[in-house]
Each structure stands twice: as C-alpha cells, then as structure tokens.
C-alpha cells in the first residue's frame, strides 16, 4: 500500500505516525512546501530569537528515518490527477498513490487595503517561511505595525516587544483578542502589553497606505485619519485554506475541501484533514483529524467525533488564560463571575449545563471543563460550584485503572 501525505503540519505528521503504527509494511511519502517540520504556534519564538528552525520542530530529528518515510520537502504540489492517482509537483515530477491525504493547512490572508498586497514589507505570520522572511527585516526595523489583535497578532507583538521594538497594534474591535476574550480578560493582557511598551489603537481600521520608492510601506493611515509610521507591517487578519492543489480537480470544494465523517473527500481514497478541511483551526483537532484519516486509509473504519473547537489557551508574560465556548450569554443564562488580584473567571451556564468558561490566572486542573461542555453534563444544583469542580466530583475508575466519568 502506498500512502502519500501532502503537508507536514499537525494533521499530516499525526497521520504519518498513525499509518506507521498501524501498518509497519506500508510505503509512506510526505510532500511539503515547508523545508522544516515546525509548530506554527511557536513562530513568535522564532521571531524573538528564542527558538531556531530545529527547535521549532514538534517531532524528533530522526522522525522520517525512524518511521521509514520518504519526505519530499520544499516541493509545492501543482495538482492531483484523481484518475491516474498521481500527485503532480510544480517541479514536473509526480508521485503515485493508493491513498492520499491532503493536509496542506492554510495561508495568511492579506486584505486588499492600500498596497498591502504589493509592498515588500507586509507579511502574514503563518508558516516558517513567513517568519524567515520577517526576521531579517524586523531585526532592522524600529517601528512595527501589527494589524489585528488576535492570537497571531499578539504573538507577533510579543516577539517584537521582546526585541525592544516600537510596536503598534491596530484592532477593529473595541478590545484586544476579541474572539477569545471578553472585555475584562482582554484588559488584563492589554495592561501587560502596554506595560511592556505596546501601543494599541482600538476600534480602528487601516484604510490607506503609503509605499515608498523601495516598494516598502512607510506609513499607514487609519479610518480616523491617524497616521502610523512603520518599517514593517504584520497582517494578522485571518487565514484561507491552502487548497490550490485541489482546485480544478474532481475533488469537491466549498471554500474548504469537503470531507465525510471519515475525513474522505468526494473522491474515494483521497482524504483531507486539518485547516484545509475547514472543520477547525485548532491544533488538537487537526491532530485528531489526521489520525482519523490515517486509520481509515489503513482500512480501520473510524469516524471523526471530537468536533468541539471553541477552545483556546494563551500565555503571555506568564498570565495564562483558558477559554472554552463562545462566551456570549443568552437570555435566561446563569452567568457567574469571580475576580481577585490574580484571577478572573467567568462561566455561562445554560439550562444547568456549562456553555462557556473563561479562566484567567490559575488554570490548574481545568481540563474537566472541556469534557463538561462537550458532553453537556447536567450540573443542576451545583451550578454555583462551577469554579470549584474537579474530576473528583465525577470520579470513576475502570478495571484497567483508567479514569471514567460518573455522571
């Protein structure tokens, strides 16, 4: 059996690992534009010089040898020949497959604001190649503008502040990290970033740019007329799935590559997982999708079930936050909040079940909350104890010593 995996991100690597574990004799080929396996969640640590190409990796250095995987790196895929079962590369060569997994991930989206798309000092921060292009510029830059205060934007801001740069973050919403955090929790990070020298311009949009004769943007104007001088612009305005290789093929696409609950595309024996499949952009979910696809590729029928994706953690300057759920209260919901000098906690309970929870500060032993939300565990009568619950409250031990929930 010959397996081909396009992409060496969370989904692709997990799939390869799973394939090898389940089928010691199969052939595995991985193809990627990336030349290094790397964790995109740590790219800011590359910008801050805390990690290099090797320490960004999330696999052992001998991963490909140990698992007997052929890795064709730095090789963009042109298209997929579904009929002939061939992956055709930009370099003209092709790879035959029996089973294919498309795990190409996503790329940054640069909005058509001014000359953002033309200029040579405007970047997204999605792949190591982005970071590699940014770092020489950022090392030289004094003033750096970041558009968007989501996790990627704040990661970038952190990295540049660590380098002593003058950093300005522009955000359309009236608070930072608007998707993950509410006002109070966001404010705590805003205070921390400001204490480290960051400037925030909230409730504002970049509307025009000025490009100098070297092709670099040297200032950006906001919708309120504010002018921000800059040597470098990082645009953190979201991502788009990297589905170029599947375009104009029989593989069904609707913004993302469409997959069944076994992660199979509309074409038999061709699977997709991770960001390109559009189910969730969260690392743990990408890993599970890769695992599910691989199991099915080995003929072990497996359904992707763990679809809960409204979850995140973040850690800036030692302040840790866990956020689960939309965090938006509806009429009739019970909203509980607690606040002290080191912690902020907010939970939304709907019909006696946990809908959302945000823990900022201490998140010790908080893994249970995802389970409580995902499985919609009835907490009637102990709603107000929500911040004090632990697995002890649902304690069950199986014969083999594993834990199980008793609800």
């Amino acid at each position: 059996m010959k397996h081909v995996i396009i992409g060496v991100g969370a989904a692709g690597i997990t799939a390869a690992k799973t394939l090898r574990e389940k089928d010691p004799s199969c052939s595995i080929t991985m193809i990627s534009t990336d030349t290094h396996v790397h964790s995109r969640c740590m790219l800011h640590r590359y910008l801050s010089h805390e990690r290099n190409e090797d320490t960004l990796s999330f696999v052992e250095p001998d991963f490909f040898e140990t698992n007997r995987i052929t890795w064709i790196k730095g090789a963009p895929v042109r298209t997929i020949d579904v009929e002939q079962k061939l992956v055709c590369l930009e370099n003209g060569s092709s790879q035959p497959f029996d089973q294919l997994l498309i795990a190409t991930g996503a790329n940054s989206f640069i909005p058509p604001v001014g000359q953002f798309r033309e200029a040579n000092n405007v970047f997204g921060l999605r792949n190591l190649s982005d970071a590699q292009a940014i770092r020489p510029l950022s090392d030289q830059a004094d003033k750096i503008l970041i558009v968007g205060s989501g996790l990627v934007g704040m990661d970038a801001a952190y990295a540049f502040l660590e380098q002593g740069k003058d950093v300005t973050v522009v955000e359309m919403a009236d608070r930072i990290l608007p998707i993950q955090l509410n006002e109070t929790a966001g404010q705590a990070y805003k205070d921390l970033f400001e204490a480290h020298g960051c400037r925030f311009l909230l409730g504002k949009k970049a509307s025009e740019t000025h490009m100098n004769d070297q092709g670099a943007i040297d200032f950006v104007s906001l919708d309120d007329g504010t002018r921000i001088d800059c040597d470098l612009v990082i645009v953190a305005a979201g991502v788009r799935p990297a589905l170029e290789c599947a375009q104009d093929t029989p593989i069904d696409i609707d913004r993302f590559i469409k997959v069944s609950d076994t992660m199979e595309t509309s074409c038999p024996n061709i699977y997709a997982a991770g960001d390109v499949a559009g189910l969730s952009g969260i690392w743990p979910n990408a890993m599970k999708q890769g695992q599910t696809a691989a199991l099915n590729m080995c003929g072990i029928h497996t359904v992707y079930e763990d679809r809960y994706a409204m979850k995140n953690t973040m850690n800036f300057y030692g302040l840790v936050t866990l956020s689960l759920g939309r965090g938006v209260a509806e009429e009739g919901d019970l909203v509980l909040e607690e606040e002290d000098a080191h912690n902020y906690r907010r939970a939304i309970l709907r019909n006696g079940k946990l809908d959302s929870i945000l823990l900022q500060g201490k998140i010790d032993y908080s893994g249970i909350y995802q389970y409580l939300i995902k499985n919609q565990i009835d907490l009637s009568g102990r709603e107000t104890d929500i911040f004090h619950l632990s697995f002890a409250d649902f304690y069950g031990v199986k014969d083999n010593g594993g834990y199980q929930y008793q609800v």
Binding site: S39, M42, G318, V320, S390, Y395
Partner: protein, 150 residues
C-alpha cells in the same frame, strides 16, 4: 503497560504521596526532613480531593492509552512511549501553551506555579520496574502498580 492503580476507598488523605512526589522531583538533593514544604517550586504531580462525605479522591496521571494531552501538544514535548506506555514530558521542548492542561479530561495537569512555563506532569519517577515514590509512600496501599492491558 504498568499503571499506578487507585483504590480510592482506602485513601485517608494523608498526602504522603503528595510529599513523596515533591521529594522525588525536587531540584536540590536532600532527604524528606529537609524538603522545603513552603517552596512553591516543589510541586506534586498528584493531588487528593476530599469529598463532602469525608471520602478522598486521588487524582493521578493515568498515562492514558489515548492520551488527550499528547494529542494537543504543538511542540512535541508530550509523547507516549509505545513500549512502556508512559506519557512523558520534555520541559525543554514545551512551548508553554497549556493546551494539554485544557485537554486532559481528568483535570490532572497544571501549569507550574512559580513560572507558568512548564507543565507539572507525572513521569512515573522515570523508572522502568521499581515503584514510583508515591506508591512506595502510601501507608494504606491505596495506590499500587499493576501491569494492565488496554
């Protein structure tokens, strides 16, 4: 694989296992008599909850067969050894994102109190065959090691 089995009905909440774990993972060498019980860097990988009815619930890492922590780790710091079954943690690789804390369904993991850069995670005392320190210290035999099939 070998697993620390738990008989919660025998637990008396004495926290000997907690102290033993701190002792096993302390940074400076020494004996149980000079283990600094006030130093927040001495953290235990296990903890015990007391229930309103007076019973105790020991919370210990299960080194799960399908470890959710490993399946959330974006740095490769958490891995499960297919031979020993042990889920181990490499502090040097860790990206301090704490998605593993969020993902552990049994609420076993926590960030280290002193720096919020590491995960406090059972390593089975890095032993292949002997008993981990917590097991050795339990006066009630409420925890014990057993070979289990998954």
């Amino acid at each position: 694989m070998r697993r620390i089995m738990i008989d919660a009905s025998k637990c008396d909440g004495c926290k000997n296992c907690t102290v033993a774990c701190m002792q096993a993972h302390r940074e400076t060498p020494g004996t149980i008599y000079d283990l600094d019980l006030t130093d927040i860097r001495n953290e235990s990988r296990n903890h015990i909850e007391k229930m309103p009815d007076g019973s105790y619930r020991p919370i210990f890492c299960r080194h799960c067969d399908l470890p959710e922590c490993v399946m959330s780790c974006m740095s490769g710091a958490l891995t499960k050894d297919p031979q020993t079954g042990i889920v181990s943690y490499d502090e040097k690789k860790c990206g301090s994102c704490f998605m593993c804390v969020m993902n552990c369904p049994y609420g076993v993991l926590k960030a280290d109190t002193a720096t919020h850069t590491k995960v406090i995670k059972c390593d089975f005392c890095l032993l292949d065959n002997a008993e981990p320190n917590c097991v050795k210290s339990c006066p009630k035999k409420a925890i014990y090691v057993e070979e289990v099939s998954l």
